[in-house]
Structure formats: structure tokens, C-alpha cells
């Protein structure tokens, strides 16, 4: 166990270091897209805490991503808040949203939970459209020029610079991975797994399952919200589409492709899926056809996702 954990820790740190170093060798374009993939990977990682580890399938996680996007973007746009302040505020607001939604949604289980999260997210999406005078509705809002660079701890951070954005994304990803690692390796990881595997039994072993699920839900939603805030700030645009159902589905797909219940799975899924779409769209606009076929193939031959299958067959210590 100890040795496995060590191996796993080293692997994850190595991946983070590799991501950091990549910026010195890869093309400009790869830096730009990898930045986006990492941010969406963080979003999917948050989703994975709930789905992959705790076994709760939310079909509305875009509401937290969207909450982060808007809680960061609106104060910047309307009140000229500083970027770091807006970022922290957005994380806090996502946390609050996750607690409130969690308390409501966790009254239900399985199919009902799935649909309830879907409905709540839909309500959130519609609310963004409804308050279009503030939110910009479906057209969205372009962040003002002034918010594209800011001073932080004596440093001037220029968000229009690709390398800066890349490193911020690596940093946030590292925080996410490390926090998740500690969480999953610790007693909550065991508890989450236990709930996923057999909720009734876990309750009869003296665990407050509901609290544990709420905790998982909150962590998951907060991480998703942080990803949303990062997206708004790094790419300078907020829009209702980020709270729409396709982003909820995207988190699920990334996670399933990379491997649910593995820390790096969602990131891997995000990278592979985005790259695939990007490369396929050079040769055909029917990339969704291929994407569909690939998804079907995955479920047929890699049901646990890539890392999930690798973990099951070869690397049981993988977290």
C-alpha cells in the first residue's frame, strides 16, 4: 500500500513536471490549446471526484462551471474588480452554490439524482438567459481590456501572453491534482469508494453517508467552479454556453474516456478528446461521426476508460 502510494505520487508529480516542461518544446498552438485542455481537465477532475470516486452521476455539472465563469466574469465586467479578487470570489460562490444544490439534490438517488441535477442546471442556464441585461445572455460578454493584465504580489501578470496563461493553468491543475490526491489517499477517499461500491453497507458501518456525499459534492462543485473562473479569466469571454448541457456531457465524456476514478483520467480524456476533434476537423467536418464511433468503440472495448483499464490490468496502485 505504502509503496503503491509512493509510486502513484511520483507518477502524478512527474506528469505535472512534464506538463510544466512541455512549454519549452511544443509549438505555440499546442501551448494555447493545452492551456484550454488543462482548464477543462480541471473541470472534469472536479466532476470525477463526485462521479468516479463517490459514484454519483450528476448531469448538471456545467452549472458549477458556469457559476465559476459568471461569478468571476460579472464583477470584473460590471464593477471592475481585480482579477485575483474575482477569482477567489468565484471559488467561494461555487462553494456556496455546491453546498446549497448539494443539500437539495442529495435528497434523491440514482436516476432521480441524475435528472434533478440536469433540471437544476437547466434552470441555471435559463436564468443566465433571463437576466441577459446583466449576463449578456447567449451572446455573452467580452471581458474588458483592463482585466487582461493585473498586478499580483508585485508581479505584473499579462493574461494575453500564452506562456503566462499556460503556467497559470499548470499551477491550478497542480493544486487540483495535489488536493485530490491527498483527499483520495486519505480517509475520505476510502469512504467515497465505499459509498460508490455499496452505500447501504457503508451506512451500516457507522458512516454518515449523506454528509460524506455532500462533502464530495461540495469539493466537486468547487473545483468545477474554479475551472470555470479560470476559463473566464484566462480566455476573457463569458457566455451562457458554458452553463449549457453540452458542458455537463463533456465532463462526463472526458472522465469516461480517460478513466473514471483515476486522478489523471479526466485530464487525459480532455486532452485526447479535444485533440481528436481538432485533428479530425482538419480533414472532415464530420468529426462528430468519428467521435460517436470512437465513444461506442470505447464502451465496447475499454469500458473503464483508458487509465481505468490500465489500472485494472497493469497498475493496481494507480490513484
Amino acid at each position: 500500500m505504502g509503496a503503491g502510494m509512493m509510486k502513484s505520487l511520483i507518477l502524478h508529480l512527474a506528469v505535472l513536471v512534464l506538463l510544466f516542461l512541455l512549454q519549452f518544446v511544443i509549438s505555440d498552438y499546442a501551448i494555447l490549446t493545452l492551456t484550454r485542455m488543462m482548464v477543462l481537465g480541471i473541470f472534469a477532475s472536479g466532476f470525477n471526484i463526485l462521479f468516479g470516486y463517490t459514484g454519483l452521476l450528476s448531469l448538471g455539472h456545467a452549472m458549477f462551471f458556469g457559476a465559476g465563469v459568471y461569478a468571476a466574469g460579472l464583477p470584473i465586467y460590471h464593477f471592475g474588480w481585480s482579477v485575483p479578487l474575482a477569482f477567489v470570489f468565484a471559488i467561494f460562490m461555487s462553494f456556496v452554490a455546491a453546498v446549497i444544490i448539494g443539500v437539495i439534490a442529495l435528497r434523491t438517488v440514482r436516476d432521480s439524482f441524475m435528472i434533478l441535477t440536469l433540471m437544476l442546471a437547466q434552470a441555471g442556464y435559463l436564468a443566465i438567459l433571463y437576466f441577459n441585461r446583466e449576463t449578456g445572455g447567449s451572446e455573452g460578454l467580452t471581458m474588458p481590456q483592463a482585466s487582461r493584465s493585473f498586478d499580483f504580489l508585485g508581479l505584473t501578470i499579462d493574461l494575453t501572453d500564452a506562456a503566462t496563461r499556460y503556467n497559470i493553468a499548470v499551477l491550478l491543475l497542480a493544486i487540483t491534482i495535489v488536493v485530490s490526491f491527498i483527499l483520495i489517499q486519505g480517509r475520505y477517499g476510502r469512504l467515497f469508494n465505499a459509498i460508490r461500491e455499496n452505500e447501504a453497507r457503508t451506512e451500516m458501518l457507522g458512516y454518515n453517508v449523506l454528509t460524506a456525499k455532500l462533502f464530495s459534492f461540495t469539493v466537486s462543485g468547487t473545483i468545477a467552479g474554479m475551472a470555470g473562473a479560470a476559463y473566464a479569466i484566462l480566455f476573457g469571454y463569458i457566455g451562457a454556453t458554458f452553463a449549457g448541457i453540452q458542458y455537463s456531457i463533456e465532463a462526463l465524456l472526458f472522465t469516461l474516456l480517460g478513466g473514471a476514478g483515476t486522478l489523471l483520467g479526466p485530464l487525459l480524456g480532455s486532452i485526447l478528446m479535444t485533440t481528436l476533434i481538432d485533428r479530425l476537423s482538419e480533414v472532415t467536418s464530420a468529426y462528430f461521426l468519428f467521435l460517436g464511433l470512437i465513444l461506442i468503440a470505447l464502451t465496447l472495448w475499454f469500458p473503464k476508460g483508458l487509465l481505468g483499464t490500465i489500472k485494472e490490468k497493469w497498475l493496481p496502485w494507480l490513484t
Binding site: 476510502r190 469508494n193 461500491e197 455499496n198 451500516m204 458501518l205 457507522g206 454518515n208
Partner: protein, 247 residues
């Protein structure tokens, strides 16, 4: 009396629609006992212990454990107060290693009693439990791959890992071979040195070997209660078993 009663129910009822699964049971259990509950199928035995453990909510009546009214407490809180329940239908984490099954229980006990929950400590305690139930050699095997008898032992081991005051065993020997049953009886006797045991059992040999007292349920009510000898001689009990009991 200075001592509080260990476990007591007052007029406990549980109705599902029109079905009166448990219908007014007054029941007491003293600390240190091994008590068996017997009765024909559908007598309400499983529902009754579910009411004790909190898996099922009572329609009316009270459950008192160590002087505290626990009727409205959720199951996990009762577990924390010392009521452990092992399932009639084996209910383990089938995809996890055997030791992990026990570790989950150990972690629960340690964190609920405010003790340190380091990985090493949990593992050591879990190994101890596995040794007690004789599953040490299977520690790293997937629980779902164990033989049925071993899975039953694991189920008991998970209860044991909680170091409960009261261990409720719901038909623990069902499906075990004769030799496994006798090993099992020895294990229960050993456990009984530190815990009170409430046992639902169909195998009368097991009941007679283990139980100090026996409670007979029929149609949701207590039909008789007493020592094994008393029960054996009880006319009403024989009637209940010999066919009057429907279902």
C-alpha cells in the same frame, strides 16, 4: 436499579401498508447475553432487528439502548453507539480486497472514537480482525471471489471490526457447511466474551449450542421467551413451527 437495561423495546411496531411485520414487541436484552431469535418465515425477525439497527423506521413504539432512546436515530448513529449489524444476504464490497472491506469498518470505528486514522494503524487493526475470523491468507483477494462461507465470515469480521457493544447476526450460518458451522459457533462464543450477541437463526443446533435465551417471534409478536429447554418444551412454539404459521 442502578444498572440501565442494555437494550429494551416498548410496543415496537412496523407496518408496511396493511402488513403488520412487527406488531407491538416488548423486548429486553441484558449485557453479555447470547440471545437467539427464532420463528417461522415471515414472523418479522429480520424486520425486528432492522428496527433495532435503524435500517427500517419504526411505525410506533420505542427502542432504548444503554438507557438512551434511539428510536429516531439514523442507522449510522446507532452503529456509532455500538449496535453492529451483519446482513442476512451477504453484503460486502465485492470488488475490493478482503482487507479493504475490514479496513473501511476499522476506519469508521477509529474516526468515530476520535482516534488517529493513519493508513498503517488501520491496516494493522484490520489484519488483527482478519486473523480472528481466519481470513488472513485471503487479505489481498477480491472479496467477491471468496468462497461463500468465507464471505459470511468476512461479513462478521466487518461487524467485529467495529468492536460493537451489540452484534446483530442475521442468519449467519445460512448456506455454510457443517464444519464451517461449528467453526463459526466457536467464533461467536469467543466474540461473546466482549460483546452482547443477538442472533437470528434457523439452524436449531446452532441456536441450542450458542443461545443463553431464546425469543420466539410469530406474526410480528413475541410468542414465547426463555431458556432453550423451556422453548423446546413450549407447545405454542411447536404449533407455530408445525404448520399453522402461514407464508
Amino acid at each position: 436499579m442502578a444498572d440501565v437495561t442494555f437494550l429494551k423495546t416498548k410496543d415496537l411496531k412496523c407496518h408496511f401498508g396493511g402488513i403488520k411485520a412487527v406488531d407491538g414487541v416488548d423486548f429486553t436484552l441484558e449485557k453479555g447475553e447470547i440471545r437467539a431469535i427464532i420463528g417461522p418465515n415471515g414472523a418479522g425477525k429480520s424486520t425486528f432487528v432492522s428496527l433495532l439497527s435503524g435500517r427500517t423506521e419504526a411505525t410506533a413504539g420505542e427502542v432504548e439502548f444503554l438507557g438512551e432512546n434511539v428510536t429516531r436515530l439514523p442507522a449510522y448513529k446507532r452503529v456509532r453507539r455500538g449496535i453492529a449489524y451483519t446482513f442476512q444476504i451477504t453484503n460486502i464490497y465485492k470488488d475490493f480486497p478482503v482487507i479493504e472491506n475490514v479496513a473501511i469498518a476499522v476506519q469508521s470505528r477509529l474516526s468515530n472514537s476520535g482516534e488517529k486514522t493513519g493508513a498503517g494503524r488501520i491496516r494493522a487493526e484490520a489484519e488483527k480482525v482478519l486473523a480472528r475470523v481466519g481470513l488472513s491468507q485471503f487479505a489481498e483477494r477480491k472479496a467477491g471471489e471468496l468462497a461463500y462461507g468465507h464471505q459470511r465470515l468476512l461479513e462478521v469480521g466487518m461487524g467485529l471490526a467495529l468492536q460493537p457493544e451489540l452484534l446483530i447476526l442475521d442468519e449467519p450460518t445460512q448456506g455454510l457447511s457443517d464444519s464451517e458451522v461449528s467453526d463459526f459457533c466457536d467464533l461467536v462464543k469467543e466474540i461473546a466474551q466482549n460483546a452482547t450477541i443477538l442472533l437470528i437463526e434457523h439452524n436449531m443446533d446452532v441456536v441450542m449450542t450458542l443461545a443463553g435465551r431464546i425469543t420466539v417471534l410469530n406474526q410480528g409478536r413475541i410468542l414465547a421467551e426463555g431458556s432453550p429447554e423451556d422453548i423446546r418444551a413450549n407447545r405454542a412454539v411447536q404449533d407455530a413451527y408445525l404448520g399453522r404459521g402461514d407464508e
